[in-house]
């Protein structure tokens, strides 16, 4: 089916009456997924947004429950579930895969996260095939395809005059049926793109299985500042910390993004810190992306979106690291099963 470009905003206006609709847009100095409105219109020229859509499903700060004593002095605990119908309109393949990774974490292996699940189940995920790639994009080296995102509900691709719109599952078919007055029959020719930046991933995970004690970590971590930029712009980094704010007789528990780059991330009672230096923190981040997640969920936690590559203030580049791992020799002293 086709959606004519001049009917795009009509469709989005319509969707906005029933759901919160997030579109890629520039907001002041950043590009991000922002709430569609009269002043915020989608910009599909952005290859991928500087900030990922992660916070729509997993907000940087999420209130979990209120507690305290009511006026009669009776203690209460009120969970806060604030999910809405949400449409993410125009996610790139990397961001769709990142939501698959978050689904693995928050919905599988015998645990369903009660704050993530309601947001996720009320999400309509509309993917947009890439027409161009950024210098730092390398998703097709991470077994993704910039031209299609099979885990989305609807796949779109952009032509000159119209978008081609295809449902990928039942949810997508139901949505397209509801959008039918905006759609026409037809298809467009989408010229497939591929990333210029390539890394060779063959054997990297298997090698990393034996590189926990390798000297490479000492040298790559030297330039790291231990800021949280890479983890906060990453679409798949999902670590959080739970804190509370107390006011008189009521309080609120919330979770907020945490970063394995921060010293207090692993700090324990009595100030013992198993990752007190930056080397083990840097090692943890990259092993989690390229090795540990694959062990647990069978896929890489790096989706090749290139955001950390573009934003790291000291150009600590995961693609360079992957090349270095590929070239590294496994010495006897360095072999240790992680």
């Amino acid at each position: 089916m086709l959606l004519a470009k001049d009917r795009l905003n009509e469709l989005l206006d319509h969707l906005s009456t029933e759901a919160r609709v997030y579109v890629p847009a520039r907001i002041e100095t950043q590009t991000r997924f922002a709430l569609y409105s009269d002043t915020v219109k989608p910009n599909f020229k952005l290859v991928n947004t500087e900030l990922p859509p992660k916070d729509i499903l997993f907000p940087q700060t999420q209130n979990m429950y209120r507690y305290g004593f009511d006026a009669e002095g009776v203690p209460f605990i009120d969970p806060i579930h604030d999910a809405d119908d949400v449409v993410i309109f125009g996610a790139r393949s990397c961001d769709v895969r990142s939501i698959e990774c978050m689904d693995d974490v928050f919905l599988t292996k015998g645990y369903v996260d009660e704050f993530y699940e309601p947001r996720r189940s009320r999400l309509l995920l509309v993917a947009m095939a890439c027409n161009t790639v950024a210098e730092s994009c390398f998703c097709d080296s991470m077994s993704l395809d910039p031209n299609s995102a099979p885990a989305a509900d609807i796949q779109m691709s952009e032509g000159d005059q119209a978008f081609e719109v295809t449902a990928l599952n039942e949810k997508g078919e139901a949505a397209l049926a509801a959008w039918s007055s905006y759609l026409t029959e037809g298809s467009i020719e989408h010229a497939a793109v591929s990333c210029e930046l390539k890394v060779e991933m063959t054997g990297i995970k298997e090698k990393l299985d034996h590189m926990f004690e390798h000297p490479i970590w000492e040298s790559v971590s030297k330039k790291c500042l231990n800021c949280g930029t890479c983890t906060f712009v990453c679409p798949t980094c999902h670590c959080f910390d739970i804190s509370q704010e107390n006011r008189m007789k009521i309080g609120e528990r919330f979770r907020s993004w945490d970063s394995c780059m921060f010293s207090c991330y692993t700090e324990m009672a009595g100030h013992h810190n198993p990752r007190a230096e930056k080397m083990p923190r840097v090692r943890q981040r990259f092993l989690h992306k390229l090795c540990f997640f694959e062990d647990r969920y069978g896929k890489s936690l790096c989706v090749g979106c290139g955001r950390c590559v573009a934003d790291c203030p000291v150009a600590l580049d995961i693609t360079v690291l992957i090349d270095q791992i590929g070239a590294a020799e496994l010495t006897e002293g360095a072999v240790h099963d992680a």
Binding site: T61, K222, L225, C227, T229, T231, V320
Partner: protein, 283 residues
């Protein structure tokens, strides 16, 4: 600059071969065109990796904090780097004799994508290192700039416009703390942010907490800020952090004739000094 680069490589190799230093901290090429990344050279044969060009965006002083345990360090310093080094010596973070400073006159650093001079370099009035053990190449002319330009702009705003400027800035902060980590003045062993049991800083990302973090940092570094602008460059959200830092620098200069931080390694800083003649506007 390429001449300075070849001198730098030669001197780095000599310093490492002679054993005078254990490591040279400078820059090397990154993966992309016109991209550099911090380099830590510890073998004379690797000195060839060092580069010095108009894309050396990173400052070097903060790394001395982590690398000093290995022995004496050679550090490449331009004006901004050298002021950071002075400030770190003054703050007892490192000793002058732990460092061999390779001075490099700088003509400003460019954004690799736009080719424009970085904002931090547009406001720079110390292109030549203020301290060094040897200077490679000839000193360059210091530009005349009004570095308070940005401060005057927001001082001139209407009160509610100014509040809006603060709020829209801090609303966008993601609290990655890149500004803190890159800063040569942010060297507290335990930052107020990380004192979770005391609870100065809540972990919520909201306007109140973001404002609290950023403004506390401005006050905390105010009289020691060497105006390298590295916080603003490192910020992934492109927040105008130097506008606030420079406001503090300007006020301290107006009130206490504080001057510019990091021009030498002696003396103290304005908020660390008491003088009976100090202005006391609130008394």
């Amino acid at each position: 600059m390429s001449d300075i680069q070849s001198q730098l490589r030669a001197r780095a190799a000599e310093l490492l071969s002679s054993g005078e230093v254990v490591q040279v901290i400078g820059w090397m090429d990154g993966r992309f065109e016109n991209q550099t990344t911090p380099a830590f050279i510890d073998r004379p044969e690797d000195a060839e990796l060092l580069v010095f060009n108009e894309y050396c965006v990173n400052t070097t002083p903060k790394y001395t904090l982590y690398e000093k345990e290995h022995g004496k360090l050679a550090v490449c310093v331009r004006g901004c780097d050298s002021r950071g080094i002075n400030r770190m010596i003054k703050d007892n973070q490192i000793l002058r004799d732990q460092l061999y400073l390779i001075g490099l006159p700088c003509s400003g650093v460019k954004d690799r994508k736009t080719g424009e001079l970085l904002i931090k370099c547009q406001n720079c009035n110390h292109r030549n290192p203020v301290v060094y053990d040897e200077l490679l190449g000839d000193a360059v002319e210091e530009p005349q700039v009004n570095r308070y330009d940005v401060v005057e702009r927001f001082e001139a705003m209407e009160r509610d416009k100014r509040a809006q400027y603060f709020e829209s800035t801090f609303n966008r902060c993601i609290r990655c703390y890149a500004c803190r980590e890159v800063c040569p003045v942010c060297t507290c062993r335990s930052c107020f942010v990380d004192q979770v049991n005391v609870g100065w800083q809540g972990k919520q990302n909201n306007l109140a907490e973001n404002k609290f973090y950023n403004l506390t940092r401005v006050f905390h570094i105010g009289d020691r800020c060497v105006e390298c602008g590295e916080c603003e460059r490192a910020c992934p959200m492109n927040l105008p952090l130097m506008a606030f830092n420079r406001k503090m620098v300007k006020d301290l200069d107006d009130l206490f004739a504080a001057g510019e931080a990091g021009l030498d390694a002696e003396g103290t800083h304005s908020l660390g000094t008491y003088d009976v003649n100090d202005v006391e506007e609130f008394m």
